[in-house]
């Protein structure tokens, strides 16, 4: 079921209304598809890049022409999933999350000072560490694409810029490797967040503990369209029980009325 903006799986909203159990939607299908296809391309680039760069691998594995072609073609496609994800009406959720990564609030800065808990600032969907990692990887993807293109396709006469591009490309390789290792280690040590990149959902309890600001945004935006309210009220007037599991009905009931 889809209720005003944020999609929430019906199963989860059932529990979401009152109890701390249940789940909230964290990533939609487009975001997961973009993430995993970019991940596959990135791993291919890191592996072929390492074979091209480290002498011990270059000599042991060899096949330089093939490795280079795989690396170049994969590199040219690296931004494909992200661009496709942003090109259509399906981009809404992805765009919203990219904006979150861009915009830092006090809690994000506090993340690095280790004071988030002390100051009690409610955290965003992503913490400061995740935001800086995402911004770095995003920039590094663009920068390696640019430098790699210069290295491989620059016209003759650009050799001095190719030397510069090689220097930057190699330095970014180490940075990307480090960032990806950090990303994967964090993901493996936080299974609930890792799983959310597969099924799109995360528990409401997690959101409350780690991303309270995001959770309250979700709850605030879960307003019910007029048409649904009218239908539910009509049904109620007619003496029917409201449909069980209906978010609309729960929201109407939960929101305005003080506890009886």
């Amino acid at each position: 079921m889809r209720v005003a903006g944020r999609t929430v799986a019906p199963r989860s909203t059932g529990a979401a209304a009152g109890s701390p159990g249940g789940a909230v939607a964290r990533y939609d299908a487009v975001e997961r598809l973009v993430h995993w296809s970019t991940a596959i391309l990135m791993v291919t680039l890191i592996v072929t890049g390492a074979i091209l760069y480290f002498p011990i691998l270059a000599l042991r594995i060899g096949h330089r022409g093939l490795m280079e072609n795989i690396h170049v073609i994969t590199g040219l496609s690296l931004l494909g999933p992200l661009v496709l994800g942003l090109l259509g009406p399906w981009r809404k959720r992805l765009l919203t999350d990219l904006r979150r990564i861009d915009r830092w609030r006090p809690a994000d800065f506090d993340f690095f000072r280790g004071q988030a808990r002390r100051r009690g600032l409610a955290r965003d969907k992503f913490n400061g560490g995740q935001k800086i990692l995402a911004a770095f990887l995003g920039a590094a993807m663009v920068a390696t694409l640019a430098t790699g293109t210069i290295m491989r396709f620059a016209p003759s006469g650009w050799i001095r810029y190719q030397t510069g591009a090689t220097l930057v490309h190699d330095a970014l390789f180490f940075g990307i490797l480090l960032a990806v290792v950090i990303h994967v280690l964090f993901a493996l040590s936080r299974p609930d967040q890792l799983i959310s990149m597969f099924n799109g959902r995360i528990s409401r309890a997690w959101a409350k503990a780690h991303a309270a600001a995001w959770l309250s945004e979700i709850d605030a935006s879960e307003t019910v369209p007029e048409s649904v309210i009218a239908r539910e009220l009509a049904a109620q007037a007619a003496g029917d029980e409201p449909g069980t599991g209906s978010t609309a009905w729960r929201s109407i009931k939960a929101k305005p009325s003080p506890k009886p």
């Binding site: 280079e68 609030r105 920068a143 210069i150 003759s156 510069g164 090689t166 190699d170």
Partner: protein, 242 residues
């Protein structure tokens, strides 16, 4: 319950009125892209100035670092040939008066040429001031006696895949060596030894490794890297430097 509820509410409400969010994501990205631009523009200078220092650190920690004056090792097959110097033989054939088979001793007995010159890869990396030693290609060609109708050379590698080409005019340049020594020692197997070509005025891929045959022909046959999209006339910087 009530306390946590109100805290959550406060966090939710306090967001819009206080300080507007800072665009740190954008700043991070612009910063990295700016550094990338600077790196592309002046990377050569950084490499020239700091290459030696970076190389020292690289060899100390055993990890090749960006900007180090170090060779990268290319092999286009899965395994590269390791040829003992005493069994090595260079064949010179095709359009010649007298086909040759030269071993290391033959090459050492010929007029030796020593030069110190950079090894420049077409993708940008380079190693400055590499000592090279061997026999001028043009001396080898003279010894075989090139047919007046010949116009090109084809080079073969012992790996069975890597090939290269030069025009005869290019091959006559004085800074093209049939090299059996580099870096003040015999050319090692990973550098393409016992004998490799060194084409000083052209990109590194022209300096074929594990060279075991030179064929004199009357037309240029593009080599391995040229078939992969790199220029056949591989002058460094796009113009002949000598």
């Amino acid at each position: 319950m009530a306390a946590s509820g109100s805290r959550q509410k406060r966090a939710g409400v306090s967001k819009p009125p206080d300080k507007p969010p800072v665009h740190m994501g954008r700043r991070t990205m612009l910063g990295i892209l700016g550094l990338t631009g600077i790196g592309i523009a002046i990377g050569t200078k950084i490499d020239d100035r700091l290459g030696g220092v970076i190389s020292d650190i690289s060899s100390t920690i055993g990890v090749p670092l960006p900007g180090a004056d170090q060779f990268r090792f290319y092999t286009v097959t899965g395994e590269y040939p390791v040829i003992p110097a005493d069994t090595y033989e260079l064949t010179v054939d095709g359009m010649v008066r007298e086909p040759l088979k030269l071993n290391i001793a033959d090459l050492r007995a010929m007029k030796r040429t020593h030069l110190v010159h950079r090894f420049q890869c077409v993708t940008g990396w380079y190693v400055p001031n590499v000592p090279w030693e061997g026999v001028r290609l043009s001396d080898v060609l003279d010894r075989a006696g090139v047919d007046p109708n010949a116009s090109a050379l084809r080079f073969f590698s012992a790996d069975g895949v890597y090939t290269e080409s030069l025009t005869l005019a290019q091959a006559r340049l004085p800074n093209i060596l049939v090299a059996d020594k580099m870096l003040d020692g015999n050319v090692t197997a990973d550098h393409g030894g016992p004998v490799r070509l060194y084409v000083a005025p052209m990109y590194g891929y022209k300096s074929i490794k594990w060279m075991n045959r030179i064929e004199v022909t009357n037309e240029v046959t593009p080599g391995y890297w040229e078939d992969n999209g790199y220029p056949t006339n591989a002058w460094i910087g796009g113009v002949p430097t000598s």
